[in-house]
């Protein structure tokens, strides 16, 4: 019998706010332990939480981006449990009245469109970070109270690769929307993975096994690549799987069952008396909806439709939002949007990398941190986007060879001068004057009797050698297509 996996995810994402959820401490990674703490986030007696309005706004915005319903009223609850990283002995979360619910995410997977339903995206708070020593544990509360969004899917995923693709799509949406930086290295995204198996074609769900605290997308994929066959093998052996929690051991590459205490999941939720409910106003929601950006997938599809871009190019311009934003305004003015995309993706990107690498080396030699880089990307280029447009149009209409175009681009990067001025001062204009090219062709034919004989004897490739000679005589400026045509005409004639 064949089995299939049923996978659902709970993804926790730190929101991009300046301050924490209930107090004015900085929401910032990397500070020395317990320096971003105050009576509120340390839960000293007598303090009251006050909600961060930006965190509420980002939550609702996420709901809109994930096509969720926005219920008229949301509230916070206390989830009671004892663990040293939760200083209040409860975590504030939205239990039965979340800010958003019933949405979906669409993404490309295996050449088709996948859709995963979103059960809810609710707002809660992060807890402190504990470090375990041999005989004690240590707690840093800098992270305690950082606004955290929990995004829960329905069990709509069926494979490790599809789950990985969903996570990437989700991350891209959250980054596009300015919801979260989603920096995995800084622990801004963590997931719990629920996975069960069942005979193909059946509907009932198998025992749900949860893999907790995954902090990388590749880890999720590898954990599922291990866990799904493990469960299938167990069921085939006749074992009965029971609901349980497992941990992924990244080094050993296995999941292992975690000791779970009885009653561990009785959280005794109760409404938080210190926080009033939240009722987003309709006109506020309408405004927010109107200011939403296009979803990444929609952008890719539109780039392919409007500018006839190949899927690969549209994908690059979707993945790199800044590059896409650079491209679109000039693409609208371009007669050759496909060529323009090509120049941006290949030539311009290569130059950007070059500049950054150069500056990094210079900074390093001065002993500076890479954070202090002056050149941060497209916005720091010395020339205007319309200059690049002009350059590409010159290449497209044959006024400039592609190779000369590269030289001009390098000069634009260096000096910020307009391409037409550079072409003129460097004398790079492509020669498309038939008379001039004929003269050069005659010269090349006279000087190279061997290739001429070869070509006449039927060796087509000999034409390239002659073409090369003409280009050399023109110092690279002859229009190559015209050179080919004229040579052929002369040699056949």
């Amino acid at each position: 019998m064949d089995y299939e996996a049923v996978i659902g995810l709970e993804t926790h994402v730190q929101l991009k706010t300046r301050s924490k959820m209930w107090c004015g401490c900085p929401n910032q990674y990397g500070a020395p332990p317990n320096t971003h703490v105050c009576p509120v986030c340390l839960a000293l007696p007598g303090v009251l939480p006050v909600a961060n309005e930006e965190a509420l706004r980002l939550t609702l915005r996420t709901g809109l981006l994930l096509q969720c319903e926005i219920p008229a009223r949301a509230k916070f609850d206390r989830k009671n449990y004892f663990y040293p990283d939760a200083p209040k002995n409860y975590q504030l979360t939205q239990y039965d009245q979340p800010s958003t619910r019933n949405g979906h995410v669409e993404f490309e997977f295996n050449g088709t469109l996948s859709r995963v339903r979103i059960t809810r995206a609710h707002l809660e708070e992060d807890v402190g970070k504990s470090t375990h020593f041999e005989r004690h544990s240590g707690v840093d509360f800098n992270r305690a109270g950082v606004p955290l969004l929990e995004i829960v899917t329905e069990p709509d995923l069926t494979s490790a690769d599809q789950t990985h693709a969903y996570l990437n799509a989700l991350k891209e949406i959250l980054q596009y929307g300015g919801i979260s930086d989603c920096d995995m290295e800084k622990g801004m995204v963590r997931c719990d993975v629920n996975v069960s198996v069942r005979p193909c074609g059946t509907q009932a769900l198998g025992a749900k096994i949860e893999i907790k605290n995954m902090n990388s997308f590749s880890g999720v994929r590898r954990a599922l690549e291990y866990e799904i066959p493990r469960q299938i093998a167990a069921v085939r052996r006749g074992e009965k799987l029971v609901q349980s929690t497992r941990r992924w051991d990244d080094v050993a590459g296995v999941t292992e069952e975690m000791r779970s205490k009885e009653n561990a999941h009785d959280y005794r939720y109760l409404p938080e008396p210190d926080l009033m409910p939240f009722e987003p106003a309709q006109d506020w929601l309408d405004n927010e909806r109107a200011s939403l950006m296009e979803l990444p997938l929609a952008r890719k599809q539109r780039l392919m439709r409007e500018y006839q871009l190949p899927a690969g190019d549209a994908e690059v311009l979707k993945n790199n939002r800044a590059l896409g934003d650079y491209y679109e305004p000039i693409a609208r003015l371009s007669k050759n949007p496909k060529l323009l995309a090509n120049w941006i993706i290949n030539n311009l990107q290569a130059r950007l990398v070059e500049i950054m690498e150069k500056e990094k080396t210079e900074q390093a030699s001065l002993g500076l941190e890479p954070d202090e880089m002056k050149f941060t990307g497209l916005a720091d280029l010395k020339f205007k986007p319309s200059d690049l447009l002009d350059l590409v149009e010159m290449v497209a209409r044959g006024a400039l060879s592609s190779a000369s175009g590269q030289t001009v681009l390098a000069e634009m990067v260096a000096s910020g001068k307009a391409p037409s001025a550079i072409v003129q001062s460097m004398g790079l204009a492509q020669v498309s004057d038939a008379g001039a090219i004929e003269t050069l062709c005659d010269q090349a034919i006279a000087q190279n009797p061997n290739p001429v004989a070869d070509y006449k004897a039927g060796k087509e490739a000999a034409l390239n050698a002659l073409k090369g000679q003409v280009m050399k005589l023109s110092r690279g400026k002859a229009n190559p297509a015209m050179v080919g045509e004229i040579l052929q005409r002369k040699l056949r004639g």
Binding site: S19, G24, P39, P271, L275, M276, P277
Partner: protein
């Protein structure tokens, strides 16, 4: 009727309260009385009322996303039973 539904030992365990057998008995009867008292609310007809978690007619109480000074590091750790390397030191947590 109510007392049969309350497992004092379980509730105490959830709250990490250690009860002596006599305390357990005493609390069982006291909690039963309290619950009985609250049960009286069940007699009211609330079919036309919307459930709420708050009696105060206030919504959308929030603050702007601005930074406020945090505690000085030494003050933050002042009441810690133990500290090391800037961390609150607690009994070993076993997962």
């Amino acid at each position: 009727m109510v007392s049969a539904n309350i497992d004092v030992a379980y509730v105490a365990q959830l709250a990490r309260i250690h009860l002596q057998p006599d305390e357990k008995q005493k609390l069982e009867s006291q909690l039963a009385q309290i619950l009985e008292y609250v049960e009286k609310l069940g007699a009211l007809d609330v079919s036309g009322m919307e459930p709420t978690a708050h009696a105060v007619p206030l919504v959308n109480i929030a603050r702007p996303d601005d930074l406020q000074p945090s505690l000085a590091h030494e003050d933050a750790l002042r009441n810690a039973p133990r500290q090391a390397g800037g961390l609150f030191i607690v009994p070993k947590i076993v997962e």
